[in-house]
Structures are given as C-alpha cells and as structure tokens.
C-alpha cells in the first residue's frame, strides 16, 4: 500500500512545480495547506482557551469569596454582576460554557486538530492531507461553531447553563432555567457544526494515515504520535455521530414537541404533554460520546508525550508494541465504559456491575503506558527542554488523576462521591491538565516546525512550566478534600449550609493557586506571540529527532519537501543505538539515526 501511496505522492510532486500564485486569502485564510490549517486550529483553540480559563477564574472567585463584591463581575458580566454580586444563573452559565469550551474547543480541536494536521502529513512523509479541501472546510466549520458559541454568550436570557452535559429536561425547558432558551439553541447548533467539523477532520486523518505513507513507512514504523492521532480519529468517527443524534433529538424535543427525553413533567404551574421519553436515554447517548471524548482528548496528548519523551531522553520509547497495543485497548474499552457516569442515574444496577468491570479494565493499559514512560526515562540522557518538562508533568498528573479513577470507577464507591468535587478534581487532573500539558509540550516542541524555524524562549518556557505545575497540583489536590467532605459540584455557593463552613479556606487556597497558574499562562501567551515574530531561528532539527518532519523544508512550501519525498528505512526510535561492536553509535558521533537513514552495514533492524 505504501508503494502505491508513493506513486500518488510523486504525481503530486510533478504538478507542484507550476502552482498558482498564492494570494493573502488563499495563503492565510482559505488555505488548504495542512501547516497553515494547523496554525489556524491552534490560534483559534488558544483564543477559546483564554475565554474558558477566564471564566473559571470568575467562578473560582465566587466560590472563594461568596460574600464579597467584585466590580469585575459588573464589568465582565453586565446585568448578571450588578453591584459586584454574581447572579446564580450566570454562575451556572460560566461553569457550563467553561466545560464546553475546554473539552471541545480547546482540547479536542485545539489539541488534536492542531497536531493531527501538522504532524500526520509531515511524519508519514506525505505532501499534504488526503483532501486539502475537506481539511479547509473542517477548520472553517470549527471556526463557525466557535463564533456561534461565543455569540451565545450575549443572548439576552443568558447562555446555556444546564452544565456541559446538558441533561434534559433542564436543557430542554426554558421554564426550568433561563439559559435553556435561545442560549441552549445556539449551543446545540454550535455543537452540531462542531461535530461535522470533527468528523470531516477525522475521516481525513484516517484516510491520510492509511493511504499516504511514504515508501518504507509501514504501520509498525509509525511514530506513536501518528498512532495516537489515527486511533483518536477512529474513536471520533465512532462516537461523535451519537452525540449528533442526541443533539438532534434534543432539538426536536425543544422545538417540535417530541418526547424522546421528556415524560411526566409539571413545571411552572402546568403539566407538559410529553410522555414516554426518558432522560436516562439522553444520558446514555451523551456518554456514549462523552466517555470516548475523554480519550479523544487524552490520546493525542499521550502520543505527543511519547514522541517528546523518547526524543529528549535520547532513548527509544520503551515497549513500542505495548504502547500501540495500549492505545488500541484504551480505544476499544473507551467505547464500552460510558455507564460509569451513570451508576446512580436509575439504570439497572446490573449494568452498573458490568460498567465497573470494563472501567477498571481500562486501568490496565493505562498503567502499562505509565510504567513504559517511566522506564523510558530510566538510564536516559534527559534533555530538559520545556516540551520534555511538560511531558513529564503529563505523566505525573495522568498517574495522580488516573489513580483516583480507580475509586470513581467502582460503582459502590461512586455512590457517595458522584457529582461531588472529588469527581471535578479527578477529571481535571487526568484529562484537563494532562491534555493541556500535552498541548503545551506539542507547542514548545513543534513551534519551529510551525513558524519556519523560530523557537520559543526556553527560559520563559521553564517559568511557565514550573508555575503551572505547582498551580495545577495546588488547585486540584485540595479539591479532592472538598469532595470527600461531601460538597456537591455546581453549587453557586455553599454558605447556605453551615455544615460546609469549614471548607471556605480550602476554597480560598484553590482560587489563589488558580490565579497563580493562570498568570503563568500569560507568560506563555507572551512567549508564543513574541516568538512567532522575533523567536531565534534554530537549527533545522533542533531536538536531534528521528522523525520525518525535521527533514522537511524549514520554510513552508506547498508539498513540504522541495525534492522527492523521503523514504523510510527504520522505525522512529533509534536513539543512542550502538553499532555492532558497541564502540560508537550506529552513525558515528551522532546519538540518533533518523528514519531516512538506511541501515548500516551489519546493523540489525529493531524487531520491536
């Protein structure tokens, strides 16, 4: 198959000599070039991230100091912050939109969209995605959905505020909460478009990985990044359509009087006509996407980390086959564990048993991954670049957050911590912070690839990492305690319960750490923007990496390689491999053997 792909790619190369003159619009806006599209994804994602994080700061302030008045509320929230007091409805809107933006817009599109687009063609040796046009459409649909999501913040009755899981009937009935009016409609429209965008992107990634690998790039020679993006795309194609149907059915319930999710409801003094629907059905449909979504967010981050840890350890990733097998196992299991979000939803307790079983199974491949990362560090020659620090940080938060998952995945234990802050702490560490670290690691590592050789400032990167790392643990470690105290999440304030009065100082500590961590992101933003224009130009292959992207032209040209596309002769992880008599590395004086390097005399290919 790869040989065939190669022919195609060569044809492509032939007609690339006389390409059209690019205008500003075709180069920067409606670009079909995967490198530009990846930058568009990244910058849109970062912009949405700023909104999402700013929202979290606002509601963290409310939680820490519920009785204080802050003018900033009035400035930013207008009528919902009058007199510096935050309205309960806008609190719910903030947590809802924070969740939606961070999960979908930042960590799905901003992370997977950016790096799948940048790295799939470059690392498999392709001139571009299988369909540049679909790729462009995919980005612009994402942009459109972001715009609609942002517009929904300005709806008169307020944006969607039923939680990011939008469980009906709350999300279906404007009588139940004001945000379930036009705000919710826009939320659903935005998400429907987002799903279309994600599907187009995913299909493109799958086809590209399967068909456009260069000569010699067998599936078992793929870098783990590509494996992760490839499997992520498959999970997306399997599960996102289910969310689309859930959203469509919900739209019908809301606007056309159907009863898919509604039954026997008496609200605002009248009985609704709906009968026979079930909110639990919505929960099933939502989490059928919702849980794989966790891995859609996390796998690309783990893929990025695998690549960066190996490169910066100057060692092959330990257990390549086991890593691929874990990705496959996680992907498969991720589609059959959704019920662990619903142990106490009223579904049959027997189902709870089944989902406990599958959920705890998923800990096995996750554990294998964590151990393999640690072993990769063992006896390495670790180059502490900012990307490496974020990758190690990711493994750390992945372990911490993953371990509490063992408690939550146990249906009996879930009863008492379900929907408390324990859950919030767990998933923020395991998927939120971990995936964000993956995003940052990727940005620091591949910045030179994105911005034509310019590198980000490493010292600012170090400051960014260490403050973020301390801030992240400072926020989410104490949060477990509020959960174990029994405090439910999504409470505007807990001062209505004297019982929870002793949690105030925990909340203050968390909020202070949150502000510290957020301040570090300003440093990142400054570093990112200034390096875009003034970053120092580094060597062509700054991290001495084996993968193909570093053989591509530094200057962005359509088609990536000026000459013929490179051939691949080995896997991506021949770091510090010694020659036969162990006197020197296989390539004398150089501790890495790029994939394009043919096997040396007497060298054995790693039969990984």
């Amino acid at each position: 198959m790869s040989a065939h792909a190669h022919d195609l790619a060569v044809d492509h190369h032939d007609d690339h000599g006389h390409h059209h003159k690019e205008t500003f619009i075709t180069k920067y806006i409606f670009s079909q070039d995967h490198k530009m599209i990846s930058k568009q994804y990244l910058i849109t994602g970062l912009f949405m991230g700023i909104i999402g994080i700013a929202m979290s700061l606002l509601f963290r302030m409310q939680l820490a100091w519920p009785d204080k008045e802050f003018t900033i509320y009035e400035v930013l929230l207008g009528k919902w912050g009058e007199g510096g007091v935050m309205d309960p409805s806008v609190y719910l809107a903030l947590v809802t939109i924070h969740g939606t933006i961070m999960v979908f817009f930042v960590l799905t599109a901003g992370l997977s969209g950016t790096f799948s687009n940048l790295l799939i063609p470059l690392q498999i040796g392709a001139r571009d995605m299988a369909s540049g046009f679909l790729n462009m459409i995919s980005y612009w649909l994402f942009f459109l959905s972001s715009v609609i999501m942002v517009i929904s913040l300005f709806v008169e009755a307020g944006p969607a505020s039923a939680g990011w899981t939008i469980y009906p009937p709350l999300s279906a009935l404007p009588q139940a909460i004001p945000g379930s009016g036009a705000g919710m409609t826009l939320w659903l429209v935005s998400m429907a478009i987002f799903i279309a965008s994600s599907l187009l992107g995913s299909l493109n990634y799958i086809v590209t990985v399967l068909n456009l690998r260069t000569k010699g790039m067998s599936m078992t020679r793929l870098p783990l990044t590509i494996w992760a993006f490839f499997i992520t795309a498959i999970i997306g194609v399997v599960s996102f359509p289910v969310l689309l149907s859930a959203a469509l059915l919900l739209i019908m319930d809301r606007s056309f009087g159907t009863s898919f999710f509604l039954s026997d409801i008496y609200i605002a003094g009248e009985v609704l006509h709906n009968q026979g629907g079930s909110p639990v059905l919505f929960e099933h449909l939502f989490w059928f996407l919702g849980h794989p979504e966790v891995y859609i967010v996390l796998l690309p981050a783990l893929g990025i980390t695998s690549e960066i840890i190996a490169t910066n350890s100057r060692k092959p990733i330990f257990g390549y086959r086991a890593m691929v097998a874990s990705i496959l196992a996680i992907a498969f299991l991720s589609t059959i564990v959704w019920g662990h979000h619903m142990f106490i939803s009223g579904m049959n307790p027997f189902l709870g048993s089944v989902f406990t079983f599958t959920t705890l199974l998923i800990a096995i491949p996750s554990a294998v991954k964590a151990f393999n990362y640690i072993t990769t560090l063992w006896k390495g020659n670790l180059q502490m670049n900012p990307a490496m620090l974020f990758s190690i940080g990711l493994v750390s938060t992945f372990i911490t957050g993953g371990l509490t998952g063992i408690l939550l995945g146990d249906s009996a234990l879930d009863i008492n911590v379900h929907d408390t802050y324990f859950v919030v702490a767990h998933f923020h560490l395991v998927m939120g912070i971990s995936a964000l670290y993956g995003l940052f690691a990727g940005v620091y590592h591949w910045f030179p690839k994105m911005f034509e050789g310019r590198m980000m400032n490493k010292n600012l990167g170090y400051i960014h990492f260490w403050i973020t790392a301390i801030g992240a643990y400072g926020v989410f470690f104490p949060m477990h305690f509020i959960g174990m105290a029994g405090l439910p999440r999504r409470y505007y304030t807990n001062t209505e319960f004297p019982y929870f009065d002793d949690l105030t100082d925990v909340n203050v500590v968390i909020t202070i750490f949150a502000f510290v961590a957020a301040a570090a992101q300003v440093i990142f933003l400054y570093n990112f923007i200034s390096s875009m224009f003034f970053g120092k130009k580094g060597p062509k292959n700054p991290w001495n990496s084996n993968t193909l992207e570093w053989t591509a032209e530094v200057k962005h040209i359509h088609g990536n390689w000026d000459g013929p596309i490179p051939h691949v002769y080995r896997w991506a992880y021949d770091y510090s491999k010694l020659n036969k008599d162990e006197t020197d590395y296989v390539i004398p004086g150089q501790d890495f053997a790029p994939q394009t390097e043919p096997l040396q005399d007497g060298e054995e290919e790693m039969n990984h």
Binding site: L173, G319, L360, K379, A412, M455, K536, P539
Partner: protein, 353 residues
C-alpha cells in the same frame, strides 16, 4: 467617532512599528543558533527542580491531610456505609502507595538521568518479562478490587421488601423536597404529576386505596435500625437525592421511579455527641463567630451557632437555586419516630381541609 479614529490611529501605528521591526529583522540576516535548546546547565537546574517537585507533591499531600483531614465526612451512619468506607479505605491506601512510588520513580529518574554532555543513554527498547510483570500485577490487584467492589455494590443495590422496610417516597421539585410516608399499610398510593391539583401537590392518585393514609412532610424522620426503602420521583427536571452521611445517593428522574435502601445506624443525638462531630461543630462555630464579627460591624445580624443535623442535598444541577435545595433528616429512636408520625396529618386529612 473621535474615539474610533484615535483607536484606528493607534492600531495603524502599531502595525507600522511591527512592520518596521520585521524589516529590520530581515535586513539583519538570519542567524541560526541553538541557544533555545536545553544545555547542561538547564538540564541540571531542571533535574534538581524535578526532585524538588516530587517533594512538593508529598508535602502538599501531608499539609492537606494535616490541615483539612477534619473536613471529611464522619464515619458512615448506615449499615452499608460501613462497607463502603472499608472499601474506600483499602482502595485509598492502595492508590496512595502506588502514587507515592510511581511519582517518586518518575521524578527521581528525571533528576538522576538529567542530561550531561558525553553521557550515553542506554538503548533499551523492550523487555517482555518486565512488561508482562507490570501488566499482570495491575490485573491481579484490579481483579481483587473489582470482585470486592461488585459484591459490595450488589449487596447495596439488592433492593427487596422481604425484611419489611419502611417505605418513603422522596419527591423532588425545583427547588425543594417532600417526603411521602406510606402510612399504616406501608404501601404508597399511585401518583403522577398529571394529577397535581390544589392541595394535592404531589399528584397522588386519591382513588387508589393505598393513598389516603399516606403522609406528606417536609422533614425526613427515620427510625434508627430499621431499613428504609426510598422511592424517588421528580416533578420537573433531574435531581439527585444525596445523603452523604449515609453514603446514599440516587437520581430523581421525571417519568420514572428510582429507588435506594439503607438502614440508619446512628441517631441524630448520638451523632451530635460523637467526638468527631463535636470537634467539627466547634470548629465551624469558631468560623461562624469570626464571620459574625464582620457582619455585626456592617450592621447586619450575627450568624446563628450551628448544631449538627443530617441532610439531604440535591446533587444534580437542576436550576438557579440548585445550591440551596435541601431537607433536614432526623434519625431517632423507634418510639420517637412513632410519636412524630402519629402527629402528622394523613393525605386524606390534608385534602379534607
């Protein structure tokens, strides 16, 4: 308009400066350097910081336990809750051991093998034996946890009426709770929100012979030591009946009846006299006293001192006042309970008025 022009001028000026900067940069020519790649000094500093960081994680954990260990829920007040606490403790010890060890290895290796010029990394690509070991260990440990957890879960969720539980309906609506006791026949009358009318706020079917003796109240009283079978119903949106002290929670879903059963083991009075609660309440009252000083200074009323009560909270986002949807639970002796329930009006009596 002037403001707009000023902004426009500032933006254009900014663009001009930026473009000039670019021109200067281009004219300087491109110098390529690897000063943004970590050197030995960076490796050393960050390696040490990694070691510091794992210590930070440990210290943070210790400080959290030392400072906030007392905010956690007191011992379970229900029969099955003791099993949950036991399972929780075992799992917690397990994950702490695993967490402490793996975090140490991760950060210590990051420190120990920090890069130095001339240091040679070991080409170590795989080892079937090692990988087998750390696949099989989680398998065994998790198998144990799964089996233990499933037994506990099945026992908790095995809801039957064999041992004659007290049947109580928990009725959730925006933003309050009602409890409906099944009355003398211990059988709840049929109900549906379509039957809500006037004083019949829960939509109980009055023609059902099981209904008239039902008792609707807004404070939950439970006799200690008797199994209570809760039937949850919701009037409007999803709610969740969360009774943290009893390790009990179940969603209330419009259109269906969900259930949960437990046996309370400690009365409210006993709880108030337990050391754990005495300490907690004293601590809370100290905080309330301090807060009251600030309130009094503002000319507002002081906070009332707190006494412990069990509570039922809503734990599924249900609307703007979700944060204050609660009901008091009182666990008392069988006699006290009987005396209390005898005073309450039955549905038939309420509707007659």
């Amino acid at each position: 308009m002037t403001a707009f022009l000023v902004v426009l001028v500032i933006i254009l000026f900014g663009v001009a400066v930026w473009q000039m900067g670019k021109i200067f940069q281009l004219s300087k020519g491109q110098q390529k350097d690897d000063s943004e790649v970590a050197n030995d000094k960076d490796n050393n500093v960050n390696g040490w910081l990694m070691l510091g960081f794992v210590i930070f994680i440990y210290v943070l954990s210790i400080v959290c336990f030392w400072k906030w260990g007392d905010v956690m829920l007191p011992e379970a007040s229900s029969e099955h809750g003791v099993d949950i606490d036991q399972l929780w403790l075992i799992s917690m010890i397990l994950i702490f051991v695993v967490g402490i060890v793996t975090q140490w290895l991760l950060h210590y290796f990051a420190f120990k093998y920090r890069g130095r010029k001339g240091q040679r990394a070991v080409f170590f690509a795989d080892n079937d034996k090692l990988e087998f070991i750390w696949t099989i260990i989680p398998v065994i440990v998790l198998a144990g946890l799964i089996i233990y957890g499933l037994f506990t879960w099945t026992e908790i969720m095995d809801i039957n009426e064999d041992d004659d539980p007290l049947v109580v309906e928990l009725y959730a609506y925006q933003f309050d709770w009602r409890a409906r006791y099944a009355g003398k026949d211990n059988t709840l009358g049929e109900a549906n929100v379509r039957l809500i009318e006037g004083a019949n706020q829960l939509g109980v079917d009055i023609s059902d012979p099981n209904s008239p003796d039902d008792i609707i109240v807004n404070e939950l009283h439970l006799p200690v030591g008797r199994k209570v079978l809760f039937k949850m119903r919701s009037q409007d949106v999803l709610h969740s009946a969360y009774m943290p002290h009893f390790r009990a929670q179940m969603n209330c879903v419009p259109g269906m009846i969900t259930q949960f059963a437990f046996t309370p083991t400690k009365t409210t009075v006993e709880m108030r006299e337990s050391d754990e609660i005495i300490q907690k309440v004293a601590h809370i009252n100290e905080i309330r006293k301090e807060n009251s000083i600030a309130l009094l200074a503002k000319g507002e009323e002081a906070l009332e001192p707190y006494t412990f009560d069990y509570m039922l909270l809503c734990n599924k986002i249900c609307g703007n006042t979700h944060y204050n949807m609660q009901m008091k639970i009182i666990v008392e002796s069988e006699e006290e309970y009987e005396a209390w329930i005898a005073e309450q009006a039955t549905l038939a009596e309420t509707l007659k008025q």
